[in-house]
Assembly symmetry: C2
Homo-oligomer: 397 residues x 2
């Protein structure tokens, strides 16, 4: 699949030797030819990595020129030296595009608790600066440079007709259901040539992440490095978006984030099902999110799906201990379109047919309806298989 790269960006990816495995790229450089508005959403983990600390300080902002991203080392739990290293990475990335040190952002993913190999990183940034391109191949290479346990690069794009003309958005993400020593860090960067005011960029990104990256859960862990960045360089022309144009952009950004987010649990070595959980009829969105997350993270629900078991009790009971107050007599549950539970009581259904539909499809749908209000959310997770546990229990020395 080919993607349009927004105007005014160049991307490059190299192998500089951070990852142990030979042949896999481990450093990506993204350059904007003009200062770009940048927004960021970061992990809420109390233990966060040095690049998160750096980027948090620097976003939202109106003059970012470069993003450097490495895989193989997360630069987490590395203290002051880690912060200095992240700052030096930003300086090097800014330098190769003639910008000042504070005009760059940093993303890292990989093992935690080890210092960055700065000599390799410096050489990698210099080399990546020679590889920059604006075509679909450069984009795919950039996405691969972020990958750790991912089996496939994750990309999504949109072209928008705005009153001011056409604008392009493209996003890349890394993250996979299978957990390696990198603790399933999720990174994403969305680039657009639309013009955005920093505050609008931040609002649009925060809302998009809420409905996408914050609605996936593989093993419930939030990593030290999770980050989503948005760069908007305005190279498509025009003044910063507002009104209907801003709304259209936000909608497209939401779709790109959703597509990228859904690709993370879908890329599951060891997982056999992608489970979509729709929670509807809650008092508000927050209540729906809390229930969906609790169901998504229930080992009982996840093993039931792995075993093609239409076990309504595990699902309803998980909703019950989510901490959300609801009337149990007004709960309905559907699995793959079949009603298993209606108004607080199980109903007769064809267990063999529902089990077969789970077994023979990679996608499983769980719909939980409450009678409390209009709050709803869509959430994604994976099943929990013996193979998944085997992969994650492997002792990495």
């Amino acid at each position: 699949m080919a993607f349009d790269v927004p105007q005014g960006y160049r991307l490059g990816s190299v192998r500089c030797g951070i990852k142990r495995e030979a042949g896999r790229p481990d450093l990506t450089l993204i350059v904007s030819d003009r200062p770009a508005t940048a927004a960021g959403v970061y992990t809420q983990n109390r233990v966060f990595a040095a690049p998160v600390a750096l980027d948090r300080e620097r976003t939202p902002d109106g003059s970012i020129r470069a993003v450097v991203c490495n895989s193989g080392n997360a630069n987490a739990c590395t203290g002051q030296r880690g912060l200095d290293d992240a700052r030096e990475m930003a300086r090097l990335a800014a330098e190769v595009c003639g910008a000042s040190p504070e005009q760059a952002l940093v993303l890292s993913t990989g093992v935690i608790g080890e210092f960055m190999p700065m000599t390799k990183i410096a050489a990698g940034i210099a080399e990546a600066a020679q590889e920059l391109g604006n075509d679909s191949d450069s984009l795919i290479a950039a996405a691969r440079g972020m990958m750790t346990t991912d089996t496939v690069e994750k990309l999504a794009g949109r072209t928008l007709k705005l009153t001011s003309g056409e604008a392009t958005l493209v996003g890349m993400a890394k993250g996979a259901a299978m957990i390696g020593p990198n603790m399933a860090t999720m990174l994403a960067v969305v680039l657009t040539d639309a013009a955005l005011a920093p505050a609008d960029a931040q609002t649009a990104l925060t809302e998009s992440v809420r409905d996408s990256f914050n609605c996936i859960s593989v093993e419930g862990h939030m990593s030290t490095n999770d980050s989503v960045l948005l760069l908007a360089n305005g190279a498509a022309g025009g003044t910063p978006l507002s009104g209907d144009d801003l709304a259209a952009f936000s909608e497209a950004l939401g779709q790109v984030c959703m597509e990228l987010a859904r690709a993370i649990p879908a890329d599951g070595e060891g997982a056999e099902h992608l489970i979509t959980i729709d929670v509807e009829g809650c008092a508000d969105r927050q209540a729906a999110h809390k229930i969906a997350k609790t169901v998504a993270e229930s080992a009982l629900v996840k093993t039931a799906v792995a075993g093609a078991d239409p076990n309504w009790g595990r699902i309803v009971s998980a909703a019950g201990y989510s901490g959300v107050v609801f009337d149990p007599a007004r709960v309905d549950l559907l699995v793959n379109g079949t009603v298993l539970y209606r108004q607080g009581a199980p109903v007769e259904f064809d267990k063999v047919a529902v089990s077969d539909s789970i077994r023979s499809n990679r996608d499983t749908s769980i719909v939980l309806r409450f009678g409390e209000g209009e709050g709803r959310v869509r959430f994604w997770t994976t099943d929990l298989t013996a193979e998944y546990v085997r992969l994650n229990a492997d002792y990495h020395t």
Copy 2:
């Protein structure tokens, strides 16, 4: 092992045909020869079973004469008919000991969403009333009548010297790490011949449960039926305990509950390690509990222990997303007595030795120390093995 049964109680257990498996007892009757003070602590799940609704209404109270407990059917998600059945079970149990209908409590565990086989239950109660005894064998039989997926009965007892004389406590529990269609319901009953005022009994039980049954987590699920009951019939003589005697009793009750609670994750078909998590130095107990529970329920931590992997990153990161605010630079972590992480940074340690110590012991110790205050908690969980998933993914038709 033999246990002293407190004075004034008689226990009996029979098979009345609720469980499908032949030969396993499925109904236990406990009778107090005199009205007993009764206290209860129940599931906080919004979806709770009929016996929980009944017992909640009836505790704390000063005149309970009987507890009937069945395994094989949880009487959950059964609507008004379920409530009527629970009430009828209580009436039948009260009747066989000459008490009035409201003087009995009910516990149920087993499959959910099915109506109680009341004809079998009625016959079972009548038969159990003929089997009542006050010796250790009767107690063991009673504990077995509660069991579902448990591989062993769980009992604990204490004898107390009080200023008023001697008092005995004995407790039985069911619940196991392996999850069956019963959703790992945890039931416990503690009997004592000490005299207690209902309010004191309730306070002592609530506090004991907080430090014991509420500090275990196998798969994070809270079932529809979880219940812990305390009966205190005063048959040892004397007036209701107060002052030092009440404190000594509360201490002993806490120990009995702790012993029973710890036996639940320890009885883990499919689990290979019992993990004890000590969280210390938090702002308060609640903060420590929140961190311990988050670590205990992390699939990443649990698979790491299964793989004998001293993965400090997974543990520290789980603490980080618990929602508790702490200074990451003041965190220490020990696994099986070895420091892996000190004041916010990993330290050099002998990975092979720590891995060997995990692999060669059934018990794994995780100690997390924070620099926030004096709040602490001890929590228990199991590892997560491929065998465990295989057992729980089995499709039961």
